[in-house]
Symmetry: C2
Subunit: 396 residues, 2 copies
Amino acid sequence: MINEAYKAMLGGKSVIRELSEYATARGAEIGYENVFDYSLGNPSVPCPQDYTDAVIDMYKTAEPVALHGYSPSLGISSVRKAIAESLNRRFDMDYTADYIFPTTGAAGALTHALRVVTKPGDEVITFAPYFPEYQPYVNGTGAHLTVVPADTENFQINFDAFEKALNPGTAAVLINTPNNPSGAVYSAETLTRLAEVLNAKQTEYGHDIFLIADEPYREIVFDGGEQPYPSKFYDNTLSCYSYSKSLSLPGERIGYVAVNPRATDAKLIVPMCGQISRGTGHNCPSSTAQLAVAKVVDETSDLSVYETNMNLLYDALTRLGFDVVRPGGTFYIFPKALEEDANAFCMKAKDYDLILVPSDSFGVPGYFRMAYCIDTEKVERSIAALEKFVHEVYGR
Amino acid sequence: MINEAYKAMLGGKSVIRELSEYATARGAEIGYENVFDYSLGNPSVPCPQDYTDAVIDMYKTAEPVALHGYSPSLGISSVRKAIAESLNRRFDMDYTADYIFPTTGAAGALTHALRVVTKPGDEVITFAPYFPEYQPYVNGTGAHLTVVPADTENFQINFDAFEKALNPGTAAVLINTPNNPSGAVYSAETLTRLAEVLNAKQTEYGHDIFLIADEPYREIVFDGGEQPYPSKFYDNTLSCYSYSKSLSLPGERIGYVAVNPRATDAKLIVPMCGQISRGTGHNCPSSTAQLAVAKVVDETSDLSVYETNMNLLYDALTRLGFDVVRPGGTFYIFPKALEEDANAFCMKAKDYDLILVPSDSFGVPGYFRMAYCIDTEKVERSIAALEKFVHEVYGR
């Protein structure tokens, strides 16, 4: 019998996907180079040559039966060890392979982490603006997502609203830093205060509150800065990562959960992920993808284009009078729309072939997201279109 | 808060995994060539050279940003089309790309198919002997698995027991042919009768009963035979497939669900799989794995070794007086143990470095499974060990 609940979900469409499909269709009409498609967070720079070379070398030299054999159910040991050691070098942690669970990207990581630390009926808190897929990730566990209103001053955390939202049913808090869509990089000060609040509430409620840190943009930080490592600030942290952005490999579906060794039941969490996998059919990410990322574990693509693009857009938007927080990282910028209704604003922008994503699905009305993972040359041309749009429609 | 249900599952261990780990440890002691490891269904023949060449060619010539970009959420169109057309050629079906949903192997396929056609509380019926992971796959949906006792004459379907088990709460029936662990290939007669029973019960109960056909061993059929295609016999069929066995790629996690175009709500089922994916974090299988299998979609590894091994083992087991059904396919054989307690039997075999899997976890007591996806030379040597074991312990 067809499941009516999933059938009912077919109505709901992703605004981002719809806009991306529109951009592709429009591109077929007028040439894709003439569509300023800021809809999708698909990396625009190639993966490192070392990654390509590592894969070709494996396929040329490894024995196929071994290369393509089943991965152990908790991931390939040497890969888990390489990831642990890389994190230890960078963030002065003390992971071992036992605390690393390779996953099919951040989606796989988050859905496992959420199942480990919630049960149906529990509450997970996140902060606006947030990645819209958090809704299905959390709903899929049987828990529900509560969204804390944004700190629109700088897109750090609105702590007053957060403290009001916390309650004894809160099982986990889900953060995303550097943040999609705002580009905010949570500061050491923010993470310190977050840990203080959570520690106090754990004591008050008499139970653990886990922090799930979604960190796929960890390596895309501007001005020579670095994303402070959330797990360094709070013991009950599960770090969820994807190589999609740092190595430009979104199609390969490869990431991990890293369990803070000082978390409650830390030693059990990766084996629990293995049990969860059996029920969802996740099993492991591709064994060759696991082996290949382990060979370039400390590398990234050349990510500098995102900072170049951000500076061009930030300067143009500021010049045009937009209210916009300067992103500290990612490849997103999140300005305030020029009218209250961001959907109307973005609809009008389409007439100038500017594909902008209205902010409603990110949990904040009145803003829009631009994903500037596109060629710099196109960003430059888009600024003329933006100027024309703002001038003609809003008289600026 | 740590999820106590998943924590409680940590007690349960896979007998197959435990035996495989024992074999590896014993191999380190006495040399792995001296351990007759029949525990694990890991293909022993290499993938086709064309697969390796296709991957190397893609990595050498394709533009990395495009090659590693996000797969569309329902899979890459050209890949879905290639799979549909291959199935149409082989089985005279009329799939289009719209009915194909690429997944992370058969595990991904089954967990999606199960979610599409059950809701929590529903019943799924399967037939002993069955693959033990069906339990977590079904439990993960909130449905429960009912196991129909085996037809131990020939490991087809025990229809008397099946008709007794069917009831208005039955939402789906899950079959696995060619069968792990018995090696049975469901005949056209079996599939015809199965369809008749299901059609009659659909009418009687006034609701759909879906057939989920798990077919990863489809291409491993002996004596020049072929597996009749279950979806040809019954409209409400979701075919679940993995390239793990036919192309020897278990680590790559690549397979699909193929929806019979005449199934109820057929056009909605792949989009529903996409919605289900969002909640489990499955997303898509690796884009390069999708593209690579599409290039060798009508090929298989050289699978002939499995038939050679089967014949050697079947002859030896028969000669030694085992009660054994000759497998029609797969790389498994499922003889009756020489004492009632298959666990005791397999434990004693370990003293002869014969690693056999007792049948209890397959839903039939008193049998054992041998996975003969190992070198023929080793099979030959193992027969001497088997003879010695049977002679010394059971006086035969």
